[in-house]
Every structure is written in C-alpha cells, then in structure tokens.
C-alpha cells in the first residue's frame, strides 16, 4: 500500500506497461489481416470458439460499462449485485436467439442485420432502409461515446491530455480494424479479456484479504452506512419494479442489439452456442463479479484515507488499482481496461463501415459492384467514420451519455420485439406489422426515454412500456394488413 500519491517510478512503470500493451495489440490486430480474403471474412469472419467467446464477452460489456457496474457497488453496496443481467443475457442470446438466427443467416448467406430484414420479407427495400436507420441510431452514434470514454479514462488516470488520448485510441483501433476487420477485432478482444480477467483475479486475491476479508469489508461498510449492506436498495435502479423491467428490456435489448446479431453471424459453428452460456458464467462471471468486491474494498479504503475519492463512482475501480496495487498489475489492468473501451469501439466501427458500403451502396445503389472494390471501400469508410467520430469526440455533445444509455433500450423495443416474432411466430407477422412495430417502438421509445431523462424519472425502466407497445402493435397490424398472396 503506497499512500495518496503514486511514486513517479511506479507511474512510469504503469505507463510503460500500457504503451507496450497497445503496441502488441496493434501488431497482433494488423497481423490478423492474413485471415481476410474477401468482404465476408472482413465483416463476419467465421470465428473459432475461443475468439467467439472473447468477442461475445467484449461485445456484451464495454470497458466503461464494466467499471460503471463495479462502481455501483462502490456507491450502493451489496444491492448492486442485482446487476447480474450480462451473464443472464448471454444465456438468452445463446438459447433463444442464436440457434435460429445463425441457421437463417447461414442458409441465406446473410452478412449484416439489414440483410436479414430485407431477405426475410422477400427482398424488401423498405425493411432494409428501416433496419439501416435503427443500426445507425444504435451503433454509429455510440462510437463517439467510446472515443470519449477512452479519452476520459487515459487523461484521468494516466494524465495523458484528453485529445492526445482520443487520437491514440483512434489510430490504434482504425489501424487494426482497417487491416483485419472482424478477425482483428475478435483476436484483440480475446487478448484483452484474458489480461483483464488475470489482473482482476490477482487484484481481488490481494485486496480482499488486505481489508479483513469479505466479512471485514462488510462490517466496515455497515459502519459507513448501514444501507450499504442491505440486500435491496432504496432507490433505482435496485428496487424491484426497476430490476424486473430492467431485465426484460436488457434481455431483448442486448440479445437483439445489432452488434450481438453480428456476433451470432460470425460464429463458425452452431455447436458453439451449446457451451457459450457456461463459458460465459465461468469466465465472464469472474471478470464481472470480482471487481464488485474490489470496489466495496475501495469504499473502505477511501473512508480510511488510503486513496483519494474518485470523481464519480465509475472510477472507483481504476483509482483503487492505480493507487493501491503493484504497478505492473495496475498497468496490465488499466491497459486491458482501455483496450476494453477500444474493443467496443472497434466492434462498432467494423459494423458501421459495411452499413454504408454493403447495406446502402451495394444493395440499394449498385448491386453489380466488384467484391474487391467493395472491401477496399469498406476499409476506407472505416478510416472516414473513425476520424469523424474522433473529431466529434474532441468536444463531445452533452447528448452523448443519453445516447449510450438509450441504445440498448431502443434496440429492445425495435429490433428485439420484431426479431422475436420473426424467429418464433413467422405465420403471424407481415412486413407491415413488423415495420409498424419498429416505428412505434422507436417513436414511443424516444418519447419515454426523453421524458424519463429530462422531465421526470419513471418508476421503472423507461423502455418497458415502449417494448409492450411494440409487442402489441406487431400482431395487430399484421392481422389487419395481410398481403394478398404469401
């Protein structure tokens, strides 16, 4: 335990480990170019199980969300253990969505989410355009948020200027995504996950006994505030109406989020989904649960004056690691954490570029475009979108936190509902029904989301009612407007 400030040598060690990590991951990412022969390899790959697993986990939880989730335990204590939904979501994805979605995609040679909507409704351009709009809202804008997160993280912890951090993050991510597309993304994801998990295990194994074990931590917490150790919190998000609706919305929102759908496509074999939930519980469970215990120790450490108060609860874990653990471990952890932010950014980038080249240009403008040219343009668009997002992230608009938080909710009440109907109730849905349900979900979802955030907070997850509306609209409109002949 070092005290309130980190020695300069320790700081340099941490910085050195982070830089070395970035260099290695960039080389590895660019090396993965060898797996890319055509556009399909770049967009969906055909990933073996370990890469699928690392990639799925990284997709499930961005770096920011990972520290945010553990930060909730810092702020609210044990009631924040209610937030187990990422692990539950992997189960829902693998059981409910993936098997049917994967088979449909393979049997019909699909590459993107708009491909699915177009193909399912007999080559409907309307459905493709609608899907492109939803992907744009839920994915492209989210990219800016990831750049912002990398910038804030590196400047806050490592003292690197914000804009420099954003530029460094952009250059690394754009470079390897350009080269290897989804292959680079998945390989770097797996490396990042392994480093993060190892660092977290070491940190927890040292930190928890140092604070008198869990019982010691809990008794200290109850001295700070007895509510920190009560099983259910007294305010959202950990009161039961909130928890219940949260699970409903996130199950659909994460499972049907465009980035998750793409991950399902990229699996090499259907068999992988058999083991994915169990692997998720074992691997991700550790990396996700252990930090929650560490931040509760961090709360005690702050109370005892062993480390400074983090600016927000989100930074409890990085602060604890930076101030109170061995510099090499801290460097590995922080590098993996920044890499986790980047790994969300690269996934979004690898999906945004084909949106313009495959989904809009090839499918709506020029179907006869040469495949090699299309791959080249997809790569060029990776650079263009990456740089635009970087420039926006230099002075991020105030709406960004709202967008991050809206993305999954909107995905639930647009894509989540319609995909569930399309995969499980084919005879009851028509093009008009699904289109109406997506539009209703989008409009009602934006209204409720706006109201909850800027007018008055609702007593539940704001996207729950829009989800129900969307789920009712789909079969009703489908029944009313039937095509003349199927």
């Amino acid at each position: 335990v070092m005290g309130m400030s980190v020695a300069p040598e320790a700081h340099m060690t941490i910085l050195g480990v982070v830089v070395a990590y970035f260099v290695i991951i960039t080389i590895l990412g660019v090396w993965a170019k060898r797996y890319v022969k055509g556009l399909k390899d770049w967009v969906i790959g055909d990933l073996p199980f370990p890469l699928m697993f690392g990639h799925m986990v990284a997709t499930l939880y961005s770096g920011m969300a990972l520290i945010g989730a553990s930060g909730l335990n810092y702020r609210l204590g044990v009631s924040a253990f209610a937030e187990l939904w990422p692990i539950a979501c992997l189960l829902v994805v693998s059981t409910v969505f993936a098997p049917r979605l994967w088979r449909y995609a393979r049997e019909n040679n699909l590459m993107t989410l708009p491909d699915l909507y177009e193909h399912y409704f007999g080559g409907s351009r309307l459905m493709r355009v609608l899907a492109v709009i939803i992907v744009f809202i839920t994915v492209v804008i989210l990219l800016v948020a990831q750049w912002t997160a990398i910038g804030i993280g590196m400047s806050l912890i490592l003292g690197v200027p914000y804009q420099v951090s954003v530029i460094v993050g952009t250059v690394i991510v754009v470079l390897y995504t350009f080269a290897g597309g989804i292959w680079s993304v998945a390989i770097t994801d797996l490396v990042q996950f392994i480093c993060f998990a190892l660092a977290v295990i070491v940190i927890a194994a040292i930190a928890i006994p140092a604070f008198g074990g869990l019982e010691g931590i809990l008794s200290e917490l109850s001295k700070i505030n007895p509510k920190l150790v009560t099983p259910l919190g007294e305010r959202p998000p950990f009161v039961w109406p909130y928890i219940a609706t949260q699970y409903a919305v996130l199950f659909l929102g994460i499972a049907a989020h465009p980035r998750m759908v793409h991950r399902v496509y990229s699996s090499k074999k259907l068999e992988y989904f058999k083991w994915l939930p169990l692997a998720g519980v074992l691997g991700f469970g550790i990396a996700f649960l252990l930090p929650k215990y560490v931040t509760m120790a961090a709360r005690v450490a702050v109370e005892k004056g062993m480390m400074p108060n983090p600016p927000t609860s989100d930074w409890a874990l990085p602060y604890f690691v930076y101030y109170l653990t061995n510099p090499v471990i801290a460097g590995l952890f922080l590098a993996a954490l920044f890499a986790a932010c980047m790994s969300t950014a690269d996934t979004l980038l690898a999906m945004s570029a084909p949106l313009f080249t495959r989904d809009i240009y090839q499918r709506l403008v020029n179907p006869n475009v040469d495949e090699k040219k299309l791959l080249l343009w997809t790569r060029i668009f990776t650079v263009i979108i990456g740089v635009i997002a970087m420039v926006i992230a230099f002075s991020p608009p105030a709406i960004i936190p709202w967008i991050i938080w809206t993305s999954e909710g909107l995905a639930a009440c647009t894509l989540g509902v319609s995909l569930l109907y399309m995969l499980y109730a084919r005879r009851f849905v028509t093009k008009a029904g699904v289109a109406a349900s997506i539009i209703a979900g989008l409009v009602v979802g934006l209204s409720f989301g706006y109201y909850d955030r800027f007018v008055a907070s609702l007593p539940m997850n704001p996207f729950f009612v829009p989800l129900i509306v969307s789920a009712i609209v789909c079969p009703i409109v489908s029944a009313l407007i039937r095509p003349k002949k199927q």
Partner: protein
C-alpha cells in the same frame, strides 16, 4: 466460494446459481441441427 456467498445478498446468489444451472442444462440438452446448404 464461501466468501462469494457472504458478500452477495441471498436472492442475487440464488439468481446467479439459477443461471449456472440453466447453462449446464442447456449444454447437456442442446442438439444443434445441421443447416441446409446455403447459396
């Protein structure tokens, strides 16, 4: 594991165990069908 149980509220731990059990059941029960040849 003992320590994990101490830190977690009982209902959250029950939920976690339910997920683990469902994941095991799925791994045992899931029989993937081969896709038809795509074009």
């Amino acid at each position: 594991l003992q320590d994990l149980i101490i830190g977690m509220p009982a209902w959250a731990f029950a939920l976690f165990m339910a997920i683990v059990i469902l994941a095991i059941v799925w791994a045992i029960a899931f029989k993937p069908e081969k896709p038809k040849e795509g074009k």
